[in-house]
């Protein structure tokens, strides 16, 4: 089965794979299958955990159908040309019994006419949030809501797109090898094991149930975004990931905030930029100084690493995979492995979170 992304240029992997038994066991426990990609993120464990903990299939969705969430993963990965994630979603659809012709029809949009109207609108929204950023997504969001999708389900859709945007950037930036995943449906062993793999993955997918709201640190950005998911299991999972990112020691909090600031400015997400500016003021920068830094991506108050990371964050907004991989590789001589993985994680999380926040945080309650 030829992948629609088979022609996408993909650099050789340059990330260092580290064995971390605890992390790998955690991934296997949560996902039901071993996940070799976790090793590439092991240098910054919060990044590896983020890829697992906020994956929507593990008990986070209460309203959105899992089948639709899978299709969102497929179309967003196609939009972002992430060969690894795209192949992973295709493999999951194939394990679950979707025949290869059907998967290809969906990839090629040939199945569009026979998708239910709400699923079509959902996929249109997913593409807009990922491809056009907030400007296009707002219109698609309005169409979704006008078609009768509840606010809670629409927020789950926005979250599912954000997690795909995050995963796509993580796997693309570090050029995680996609070949094994792409070949899975062709392999005889996989064909024979298909029913077993289906049972194993299905047994680890479960619907979410209501949870008590969490109180994220109010002086850090995105507390309001987490509050928008009050009562949903997404709230605590998102809060934990964001908090772990701020707490991780490899890059300074100011550097991470500046990266988030660049993504907010580039999309643009005005509410995000406002919150980031406030947080940067707590780090000792004044508001006009922050505005100047975000306008010119440079300034005398920047550390050399911050300057590099701001420029890098910008490259993660809209990208061709090979170009993003070259930009990531260019960071390598200047950062430790831990810092490099953390930088990729921060940029990926910023892109996912700012894209959804721009719509979710501006939706009237």
């Amino acid at each position: 089965m030829t992948s629609a992304l088979a022609h996408v240029a993909w650099e050789p992997c340059f990330a260092e794979a580290r064995q971390d038994r605890e992390l790998e066991a955690y991934a296997r426990r949560r996902m039901g299958l071993p996940n070799a990609a976790v090793r590439y993120f092991a240098a910054a464990p919060w990044v590896a955990r983020a890829a697992i903990d906020i994956h929507p299939e593990f008990g986070l969705l209460m309203h959105l159908e899992q089948g639709t969430a899978d299709l969102i993963g497929l179309v967003v990965s196609q939009e972002n040309a992430c060969r690894f994630c795209f192949a992973a979603v295709r493999a999951v659809l194939w394990f679950q019994g979707m025949d290869r012709a059907r998967v290809q029809r969906i990839e090629q949009e040939a199945a569009r006419p026979d998708l239910p109207p709400l699923v079509r609108l959902t996929l249109d929204y997913a593409r807009s949030q990922s491809r056009s950023g907030p400007a296009g997504a707002r219109q698609a969001w309005t169409a979704l809501r006008a078609a009768g999708v509840s606010a809670a389900e629409a927020r789950e859709i926005a979250f599912t797109v954000a997690t795909a945007d995050l995963a796509n950037r993580l796997h693309t930036a570090l050029a995680i090898p996609p070949r094994m995943m792409e070949r899975a449906p062709e392999s005889l062993a996989m064909r024979l094991l298909r029913p077993l793999l289906d049972r194993m993955t299905r047994s680890h997918r479960w619907r979410g149930s209501p949870t008590t709201a969490v109180a994220p640190a109010p002086d850090l950005p995105y507390a309001r975004l987490v509050s928008a998911y009050a009562g949903s299991p997404i709230g605590p999972a998102l809060a934990r990931t964001i908090d772990e990112m701020w707490a991780s020691p490899h890059l300074s909090r100011r550097a991470k905030l500046l990266m988030f600031g660049v993504v907010s400015r580039g999309l643009p997400c005005d509410v995000c930029e406002l919150e980031i500016t406030r947080a940067l003021q707590l780090e000792g920068l004044d508001a006009p100084g922050v505005a100047r830094l975000l306008t010119h991506l440079d300034g005398p108050e920047l550390e050399p690493t911050e300057r590099l990371l701001m420029a890098y964050a910008r490259e993660t907004l809209w990208y061709q995979p090979a170009a993003l991989q070259r930009h990531t590789r260019a960071l390598q001589p200047h950062l430790s492995t831990e810092q490099l993985v953390e930088a990729v994680g921060v940029a990926a999380l910023a892109n996912g979170v700012c894209r959804m926040a721009a719509v979710v945080m501006t939706e009237p309650a």
Binding site: T2, R112, R307, W318
Partner: protein, 271 residues
């Protein structure tokens, strides 16, 4: 006897089922091959289209479906237009053999386009020996003006390299004039039912072209307008030029010649 007949009938039925299954499998394999071939053909077509239109536009057309072209509305956007033209092209074109001229021109177009793409711009049109490029038209880009000026500086550097190559071959060297202006206009697929292109309509493009023509008047290679200058930081070294009247614009146009860009990192290295 009945048992034998039953066994025979069952065997015949099983054999028929097996044959039907094998035939169906062969048909499925054939269909899969056809789908694979169609997918590859689609990808080849998409790659071919990418030569005729910006990749972002092609991807969007493929994703949204060609039938929905009419539903892709043009949008009002702030865009930075860059116009580059060869100085003294007409005289050179009369002197050179057509095949050689085409080779020189293709080398020039390739290097200029690479500099534009490298700085997140997209080439909209080749106009004779000129190139019209936009920054911030396909995707939001708050840093579009700085990108356009960086692209212009990269074009200057690329042309210097190319001229050295041409000199070595005994061919005439090239000179460019670049005009950059930022302003609002209508961006999107524009044209007739038969032929459409991703374009940007507005005064911004005209002014970029006029400013490009002013490079001859001021004897410089890169000129930017006030609207662009206000978006740049102090790392760009600019020289203000006297205001000039240009065709179609009601007021004299103030422009700035771009000398170089010295970043804080460059300054620290030099120190």
């Amino acid at each position: 006897m009945i048992a034998w007949a039953l066994a025979l009938a069952l065997s015949a039925a099983a054999a028929a089922l097996l044959v039907a299954w094998l035939q169906q499998r062969a048909r499925n394999a054939d269909l899969e091959r056809q789908i694979d071939a169609a997918t590859e053909e689609l990808q080849r077509l998409q790659q071919a289209c990418a030569r005729l239109a910006p990749a972002g536009v092609v991807n969007r057309l493929v994703a949204d479906g060609v039938s929905e072209l009419g539903e892709m509305p043009a949008q009002r956007k702030v865009v930075t237009a860059l116009f580059v033209d060869l100085v003294g092209y007409t005289a050179m074109s009369e002197r050179l053999d057509p095949a050689l001229l085409a080779r020189v021109l293709n080398g020039y177009f390739q290097r200029m386009s690479d500099a534009i793409h490298e700085h997140r711009g997209h080439v909209s049109t080749f106009l004779g020996d000129g190139i019209l490029a936009y920054f911030g038209a396909l995707q939001p880009n708050p840093w579009q003006s700085a990108d356009a000026v960086r692209a212009a500086l990269a074009m200057r550097a690329a042309l210097a390299d190319y001229n050295r190559e041409l000199e070595r071959e005994g061919l005439p060297t090239l000179k460019i004039g670049v005009g950059v202006h930022r302003g609002s206009g209508l961006a999107g697929l524009i044209g007739s039912r038969e032929r459409m292109e991703y374009g940007f309509v507005g005064r911004t493009v005209n002014l970029a072209a006029r400013v490009q023509a002013l490079t001859r008047v001021h004897g410089v290679d890169i000129l930017v307008t006030d609207a662009v200058r206000s978006e740049l930081d102090s790392s760009f070294r600019l020289d203000a030029m006297p205001a000039e009247w240009v065709k179609g614009i009601a007021e004299p146009v103030v422009s700035h010649a771009v000398r170089e860009r010295v970043t804080l990192a460059d300054a620290a290295r030099a120190a």
